[in-house]
């Protein structure tokens, strides 16, 4: 029987072959403190890794045998808006049911709230796998990670009330966007007022583009400080659907991810609870929420790239023209190899990011229980910074790759790909949103650029270049070193010009150069350990990345202050 986890060896490699994994498990399991208390808790590192493997096998099984076969029907039917409520496509309920019965909710939550206490890295793999089957369904299911924010910033009473419900399969949403507050969340206007009489908060207003907006538990960004206009007047609230007061006005008609309802919500004096402290809604909590969500979109994108690869290679092997399978034509084979190279490179970046997130989150969690040792504090700072720097790279690059891979997948299908019969068109449509939501690629650049200018990426690259590689890849390592030098030279040139507009204009190019180099370095490590899995992708990706770096270097070289005006249209 097909299995979307065990059939893809690269995922298992990413989970098992990192030297960070023992540290992650040790921190996440607090030295295996749960082992005598919970039957399902691991006894040691090897036992934990074995359990992760078995959990993902269940995810792969359900994805291959329930989620993927339902994807076409869910895409065709889509959700319905009836009497202020959302009714999912029929098969979406089947998917949700399977996930709930398998216990695949609240995956990263501690066991004391009925969670599985899995590392973010393992949850990320589950996300990727489900997305390969149906990215639209992954959208609904993976909103479970909103619970991380409630866990981190809610009080104990709220944790006890909501986390077990999410672990039991209740769904979540994050209600942030409004008609006039998209990328610019500081403009959020949804009003939160304190109801003295009933000793609770009330929400009034509307939200737009809310994924899974009729969920059971909402995290809502609202203006609690009357008279304010910026981010400092916003707080985070928990709305429980059981209390009522929020209706769905309509569902958007979208290009892709049809299974996932995108809702316009109306709040009519809806009772809610404050989560965390007032005024920290946007500046602290939404930032945390977004970082988790961005990693999720990176995983969704990698899943879509894997789906594009699967569809492309299956069709190219099957389709015969001029007396042979089209995969035998170099022009087709190159497209497939490029998809695979971008997939493997992007996946390496995804899991490296997830591991960084794991270490800092686990340490942060420990710091809520006890004071960290100085060495742990330094570790927390280091990994939190790495996670912060890598998340926008992983999200931006993988979402752009998913788009490119979906495009190439259709191209390989030729005329058939343009017809709606094949899965490739759904992959192509579903991929389109990934580079837009949870911050467009342009905003990922904004989040990442400070790590370009302050030399952090350069330092990471230098450290990675110092790692040893298998002798057969020494020449590639040398080429990557040259690429890194070009990146540094471009960065310095832009900094020396000292012009803000020029800096912003070049940001995307510098961002991509950093990402290209880092992904080459990650693939170098992977291929050195497992040449049979990653050797070809390394060679192909190095060729692609080298050309990309050349291109960006050339563009940055031409973009001088006196060119700025050519890039302004009236």
């Amino acid at each position: 029987m097909a299995n979307y986890y065990s059939d893809i060896k690269e995922i298992k490699f990413e989970l098992e072959q990192s030297e960070l994994m023992p540290r992650i498990v040790e921190l996440k399991e607090c030295n295996f403190a749960d082992k005598d208390q919970y039957d399902e808790a691991p006894q040691d590192f090897a036992d934990a890794m074995d359990s992760y493997d078995k959990v993902l096998e269940v995810v792969g099984d359900i994805t291959a045998n329930v989620v993927a076969p339902n994807a076409e029907a869910v895409d065709a039917e889509g959700p319905h808006c009836e009497g202020g409520r959302v009714r999912y496509a029929e098969k979406t309920y089947e998917n949700l049911n399977a996930m709930r019965k398998a216990g695949l909710n609240g995956m990263t939550m501690p066991r004391r709230y009925n969670g599985l206490n899995l590392p973010v890295t393992v949850y990320t793999a589950a996300n990727e796998i489900v997305s390969t089957g149906d990215a639209g369904f992954e959208n609904i299911w993976s909103l479970q990670d909103c619970i991380e924010t409630l866990y981190c910033f809610g009080n104990e009473e709220q944790r006890k009330k909501y986390i077990p419900r999410v672990c039991a399969g209740e769904t979540m949403s994050m209600d942030l966007t409004e008609p006039d507050a998209g990328s610019d969340l500081q403009s959020v206007m949804l009003k939160a007022t304190y109801d003295e009489e009933n000793d609770c908060w009330r929400l009034n207003g509307s939200k737009r583009f809310i994924t899974n907006g009729d969920s059971d538990i909402h995290l809502v960004l609202a203006r609690s400080e009357a008279g304010t206009r910026d981010g400092r007047g916003l707080s985070m609230f928990i709305y429980d659907k059981r209390d009522g007061g929020v209706d769905v006005r309509r569902i958007e008609n979208k290009l892709g991810i049809h299974g996932s309802p995108t809702c316009e919500l109306v709040y009519k004096n809806a009772k809610c609870e404050l989560c965390g402290d007032r005024k920290l809604g946007l500046i602290k909590y939404v930032m945390s929420l977004m970082n988790g969500a961005r990693l999720g979109i990176a995983a969704q994108s990698v899943g879509l790239s894997q789906a594009a690869y699967n569809e492309a290679i299956a069709y190219a092997r099957d389709r015969k023209q001029f007396g042979k399978a089209i995969i035998e034509f170099p022009a087709v084979a190159e497209m497939i190899s490029n998809i695979k190279a971008r997939l493997d490179a992007g996946r390496a970046l995804l899991y490296q990011t997830a591991r960084y997130v794991d270490i800092y989150k686990a340490l942060e969690d420990i710091s809520r229980e006890r004071k960290l040792e100085p060495a742990e504090r330094a570790e927390l700072k280091q990994y939190s910074r790495l996670a912060d720097a890598f998340t926008p790279l992983a999200k931006g690059m993988n979402s752009e790759y998913a788009n490119q891979n979906g495009y190439d997948c259709i191209q390989i299908h030729g005329g058939s790909g343009f017809m709606l019969e094949y899965a490739c068109q759904r992959i192509y449509r579903d991929a389109r949103i990934t580079s837009i939501y949870e911050g467009t690629t342009q905003l990922q650049t904004v989040a990442a650029i400070r790590y370009v200018t302050n030399g952090f990426y350069a330092q990471v690259i230098e450290d990675m270049l110092a790692q040893s590689v298998a002798p057969e890849y020494a020449s590639i390592q040398k080429r990557v070193k040259t690429m890194a030098e070009k990146f540094n030279a471009c960065t310095n040139a832009v900094k020396e010009a000292g012009d803000n507009d020029l800096h912003d204009l070049c940001a995307r190019h510098l961002y991509e150069m950093a990402a290209d180099v880092i992904m080459c370095l990650l693939l170098l490590q992977n291929a050195s350990k497992a040449p049979e899995l990653f050797g070809k992708s390394l060679q192909v990706y190095a060729n692609l990345a080298e050309a990309e770096v050349e291109k960006h270097a050339s563009l940055v070289g031409k973009m001088t202050v006196d060119q700025l005006d050519n890039y302004r249209q009236a």
Binding site: D39, E40, A41, P42, Q43, D47, D50, S51, K54, V55, V58, D61, I62, V66, A98, K101, A102, G103, L104, L116
Partner: protein, 295 residues
């Protein structure tokens, strides 16, 4: 009410995914060439049992399976889905059993280990033998009522069970006192997926026959766990454990003899050419109605 349920399950070769080497030249099933799976309709049976367990706290669901050591896999698979445990009925003397000897072994085992059973639920039939005889024979041997072709258990209360069963052209609702044997149809609700918490809990569960040769539980990795958690040792039953009459077991107890295996080739005997005219279409519809093919 608390129920004591036994689910009869069988590990079978996956005859749905047949390759070119699925049959031996002698016409028997080449078991080594086919993956071993949980018999599909037994999974439907398990789901019915687990639903009763969901509705009736305190209910126990135990799997009873007959087979070699590796058949313990179906017990683990059932535990991953919510069963409490199971018994592996295993003995060289059980080998070569036909449906009569199999039902004798199963019925004897149930009398021995679950004398207070309320419900015995199995799949309608196994995909390797396709006889649909074992469930009914177990009922006969235990002198219990049976509901075959079960679609859904509607209720169990006050010592009675109500269920729907699949019949030609529809379903019928029947009632029986407990204890009772049910065989469940493949069209019944599919079995729930494995639950990951249960997978982590039971992943080390092993029957003695599955241990590497000359190894005891105490010598396995995580040996202390087998001492602390009884459910990690899957119970094994031999002919001696259930006091079985050896003459009724295995080949000795199996009157069925396979005389020969033939390949059947379907040939069209006669054919009729119809046009798209109204009269031809009408004629065909009438003919199909008369033969009850449609309508």
């Amino acid at each position: 009410m608390k129920l004591n349920i036994v689910v009869l399950a069988k590990q079978v070769p996956d005859t749905r995914n047949v390759g070119p080497d699925a049959m031996t030249p002698e016409g028997t099933v080449n078991r080594s060439a086919l993956p071993a799976i949980f018999n599909p309709e037994d999974l439907n049976a398990l789901e019915q049992a687990l639903r009763l367990k969901d509705q009736n706290p305190g209910t126990t669901v135990n799997i009873l399976t007959m087979g070699p050591g590796r058949a313990a896999e179906v017990i683990r698979e059932a535990m991953y889905r919510g069963a409490d445990g199971g018994y592996l009925l295993t003995d060289r003397a059980f080998a070569g059993a036909d449906t009569l000897a199999t039902s004798y072994a199963l019925a004897t085992a149930i009398k021995h280990v679950c004398p207070n059973v309320d419900l015995i639920i199995g799949g309608r039939q196994a995909i390797d033998g396709d006889t649909a005889q074992v469930g009914p024979q177990v009922a006969e041997k235990l002198g219990l009522n049976q509901i075959t072709y079960t679609e859904e258990i509607l209720s169990v209360k006050d010592g009675r069970i109500t269920a729907t069963r699949h019949i030609d052209g529809g379903v019928e609702t029947v009632e029986s006192p407990l204890p009772c044997v049910l065989t469940v149809n493949g069209s019944a609700a599919p079995c729930r997926p494995r639950n990951v918490k249960l997978v982590m809990k039971y992943k080390r569960a092993l029957a003695p026959l599955e241990l590497p040769q000359d190894t005891t539980y105490e010598q396995l990795p995580y040996a202390d766990q087998y001492g602390k958690k009884k459910y990690l040792k899957i119970q094994q039953l031999t002919t001696a454990d259930i006091n079985a009459d050896l003459n009724q077991c295995g080949l000795a107890g199996s009157p069925t003899k396979v005389k020969a295996v033939e390949n059947i080739v379907f040939k069209a005997k006669e054919s009729k050419v119809l046009t798209g005219s109204d009269s031809d279409i009408n004629g065909l519809v009438q003919e199909l109605l008369a033969s009850h093919t449609i309508g």
